[in-house]
């Protein structure tokens, strides 16, 4: 209440609610996140973390209330929001009958990025998939698919990263890759909102940890400059 905000706002949500049928998964969400901050969402399964991230990604429309991402309205200016946001779900988001390289090429093209083939291979190398870049994704393990998602994240120029359980399915080295990405995002001034149960790993990188329970947000732990 009455928070003083200095600098660019990455996320503004006011009285936001979202329901599936008659069941309200999110109720009265009010949140303001300054650009460049890393926010962790924690909460039990079904608490509404994924729904909140999907609303911010524009995939779901708010049932009530509204919000903005970098000043653009989530509903009326959804195209502008999508140019500034990348959302990585827990699983999926790629085509199993295409190779890792083809999936990344498609992602770059549809994200309106001109990326050379060598750059794509570099990103795949960084996540440990260079040797299997021509193999179909259907032959990949869950962890390898997750690494492919990380390659897409590395390639992205989005200013707001929405990550749903980014550590899931990854081995220790893969989880280290996520940590590196979060650190580089912070260094580049990107904003990160991340749902995670891996609090011990994530909290060292977080500016704030928010608890989602029964469709509402509350502060779990806060360092600075995240206002709710």
């Amino acid at each position: 209440m009455g928070a003083v905000v200095v600098g660019v706002l990455a996320v503004e949500l006011y009285s936001l609610a979202r329901r599936y049928g008659r069941n309200y998964v999110l109720k009265e969400i009010n949140l303001t996140v300054s650009a460049g901050k890393t926010v962790i969402l924690r909460g039990d399964n079904g608490a509404g973390k994924t729904t909140l991230l999907r609303v911010l990604s524009t995939r779901l429309k708010p049932s009530r209330g509204g919000g903005k991402v970098y000043g653009y309205d989530l509903v009326r200016q959804a195209d502008e929001v999508r140019q500034r946001v990348i959302y990585l779900p827990v699983f999926g988001g790629h085509y199993p009958m295409m190779s890792a390289l083809e999936n990344l090429q498609l992602a770059a093209r549809l994200s309106q990025q001109r990326v050379a083939g060598a750059e794509l291979e570099t990103q795949l190398e960084q996540v440990g998939l260079l040797d299997v870049r021509h193999k179909l994704v259907r032959t990949f393990s869950s962890g390898m698919k997750k690494r492919l998602m990380l390659a897409r994240l590395r390639l992205s120029q989005a200013r707001l990263w929405l990550l749903d359980e980014p550590y899931t399915a990854l081995d220790e080295q893969g989880q280290g890759l996520v940590d590196e990405l979060l650190l580089s995002a912070k260094a580049q001034g990107k904003t990160v909102m991340m749902a995670s149960h891996e609090l011990k790993r994530a909290e060292a990188l977080a500016d704030s940890i928010l608890a989602v329970a029964q469709g509402r947000l509350s502060h779990y732990r806060q360092r600075e400059a995240v206002y709710g």
């Binding site: 699983f91 988001g93 009958m97 295409m98 083809e102 994200s111």
Partner: protein, 225 residues
């Protein structure tokens, strides 16, 4: 980068996956062959009767194969939740529709061109002297059909009963296209009046243009949640 390149990227993605999995190709070829063989066997051997039935049988086979093709094009998007990602790229929704339409149309046209000579042989009918007009009928008829099929397949993609709902919803809308395609094919194959066939072709073109404008304009309503 211009928008046509996004449309081509989405169409190429769908076709590339189909070339590798062959899921729809095998199903539609097998289905079309069964329909043609059974109907040729049951309607024969009277030559005039077979000749009259051939256009209808051709388009029945194509229509059911087209439903399978359109439904599968969204099924592959749902397998790894890829549709969700596709909808999050900063591209207009119409681009997604046009890309999937292009892939479905190319596939259905190729199927039509493949089973056309098979139908001619099985039903003991030639392709007519103006056989090149048949190519135009196949291209325009499958375009009109693919427009409706691609749109309704998106509408039903997230429903539990999508396999049964897709034909129930789309066939009443697509019947004018099928009737025009059957009549145009019949006039050409039976060496009838080419001017009449051309009138039916103009109608097919009109249907395709109207459906193209409407489906492209309202596609975003279909995929929003």
């Amino acid at each position: 980068m211009a928008e046509p390149s996004w449309v081509l990227a989405i169409a190429a993605k769908d076709l590339r996956q189909e070339v590798r999995s062959k899921a729809v190709t095998v199903a539609t070829l097998f289905f079309s062959a069964i329909v043609l063989f059974i109907l040729a066997f049951s309607l024969g051997p009277g030559e005039a009767f077979l000749r009259n039935a051939a256009p209808g049988v051709l388009w029945v086979a194509l229509a059911f194969a087209g439903v399978i093709s359109a439904a599968q094009s969204y099924q592959s998007e749902l397998e790894e939740n890829a549709l969700e990602q596709l909808l999050l790229y900063p591209i207009p929704r119409a681009v997604i529709f046009l890309g999937k339409l292009l892939a479905n149309w190319l596939f259905m046209s190729a199927l039509g061109l493949l089973i056309l000579p098979v139908t001619a042989v099985l039903f003991n009918t030639g392709l007519g002297q103006a056989w090149w007009w048949l190519l135009a009928v196949i291209l325009l008829g499958t375009l009109g059909f693919s427009l409706i099929a691609t749109f309704y397949a998106a509408l039903t993609a997230n429903l539990r009963a999508r396999e049964s709902l897709l034909p129930v919803l789309m066939f009443p809308v697509v019947i004018p296209v099928l009737l025009a395609a059957v009549r145009a094919t019949g006039e050409i194959v039976r060496l009838g009046d080419l001017a009449v066939a051309q009138d039916w072709l103009k109608l097919l073109l009109g249907f395709a243009l109207v459906y193209l404008v409407i489906c492209t304009a309202i596609f975003h309503f279909v995929v929003e949640e």
